[in-house]
Amino acid sequence: MFADNIQPNLSPDTVEKSPTRNGYGDGLLEAGKRDKNVVALCCDLTESTRTNKFADEFPERFVQMGIAEQNMASVASGMSAVGKIPFIASYAMFSPGRSWEQIRTTIAYNDSNVKIVGAHAGVSVGPDGATHQAIEDMAIMRAMPNMIVIAPADEHEARKATLAAAKHVGPVYFRLGRSATPIVTTPDTPFEIGKAQKFYSRDESLEKKVGIITTGSLVFNGLMAAQKLQEAGIGASVLHMATIKPLDEEALLAFAQEHDALVTVEEHQVAGGLGGAVAEYLSGVHPIKIARIGVQDVFGQSGEPDELIEYYGMGIDSIVEAAKKVVE
């Protein structure tokens, strides 16, 4: 059963879609209106990261960095040292991809109040191909002390994550997608950094119990898979973990205890992201079988977003199959 605080009547045919970067653009503008210390930096990708809304409204608080992601990270660190709240945006492949060390030394190690926004994450970047498809970003950011890592599900959650990041004092990374993502939440669905939410509850009369854990753009696929599993007589629930660091351990443990097996779903390498985080935690407190849906240690390629999601095994049917197998 779907949670009552998300979009009603979700189905592949009717669901509305919008890129998460749109939510960032709206959220950043709103954050800028709320706090004059919010500043935005961008590396020649102002329109495609949707930083342009903020830049148009607050030109004096926007810094066009040119194509220089490493400099952007450290400039932001310097700005935060004098009281600013910088949001730095580029494609995730370049920031944090290229600027990882600068982020580690000058942002995370200093616990600087900088928000790193990685747009165009995942294979759903599409035709640009593997060079532009960041599928390792959550792993490299999660390994870094002091860093919060968030993968918003849709444009509403991206907007809320942006506002929450602006309020949180300390470094935050969140990833955004290029292509339109199914809108699963509503403007009123609660969002809190570090809090997981159950978006689908299993039919308790069914004997087999599989728990699906999602993050980011694939929550819709997880929900649709859960529905299909229930139709096939397997009890399935969905726990949405927009924040993969800090992991909501309490919710995760309770969720694991309620199910026979788990499936993690993310548009990311299966190593080091959500699947890795879940497995690491549960192996110590509640060992359980976990199937990890995501990119299986290969690079992406050019193609349309949907076809790439299917090809790399992150489509609805792939989740259903993995769930059936793991719960056997």
Binding site: A68, Q70, N71, V75, G78, A81, G83, T105, T106, Y109
Partner: protein, 306 residues
Amino acid sequence: MVVILNTIMQYLTSEEVTELEFKANEIRQSIIEMLTEAGSGHTAGPLGMADVLTLLYFGILKHDPKNPDWEERDRLVLSNGHICPVLYATMAHAGYFPVEELLTLRKFGSRLQGHPHRQSLPGLENSSGPLGSGLSQAVGMALAERMDNPYSAKFMYCLTGDGELQEGQIWEAAFLAGKEQLNNLIVIVDRNGIQIDGYTKDVMPMEPLVEKFEAFNFDVQEVDGHNMRALNDAIGKAQAVYSQPSVIIAHTIASKGVDVFERDFRWHGNPPGKGPEDRVTKDKQSSVALEKLRTLAGTINNHDTK
């Protein structure tokens, strides 16, 4: 007795120069003592930059050692973090923390990390070690300061190595500083001509350096990095330049003050006791260095100085 010198000395009197040189000598002795105790760390850069750091902390910076977070302070960003022994020693002599604490350098639990960690020690403006990112941070500080106050008289000083200029990020930062005409940014390059693997001219020639910075729209000065009066004048001029960021290329002698270590790139990353032995054997490197400093390389009787 520590005083905050927040008035810019337009011209240094002979007495002031002597006082600063005496202070720099004390700081060099501290550097030798702390490196010897640590048993690792960098010698050449810290000794070479002792005059610049002394002038900054005792003659230029607006700062308050007892209130390191003072809002109105100037900021000093050390980009080449490996020369932190000279920064720590200067800060201790300026009153940020007890001079005795210098002997904890690089030890477990110390606030004086092998490379600076901002969160560890009040008064540090940044963490550094990986080269090339300090200039960006100083640029960020200068930009943010100007956003709040276009007529700000707070200066952001950034110290970089010369080998460090081989990092691409330096030039990314230079692009932005030039574009934004950050007059409140003053960069001082430690042009000592050495890096770990050899002389910079062999590892990666970087001349003409003046023209490189000029091409990035910096006001550029070259100065003897051991001449207090010349350094003071250069910094004064840099503060006066209004439409450009400034860079002062300070020509320094690696390991300055200990003639038997000077100009030898092999002293870049070794402490006294672990350096090259052609001129002084390892067991005597520390005591000889201190003796050289206390007697100004044998030119005076050390009873005159201490």
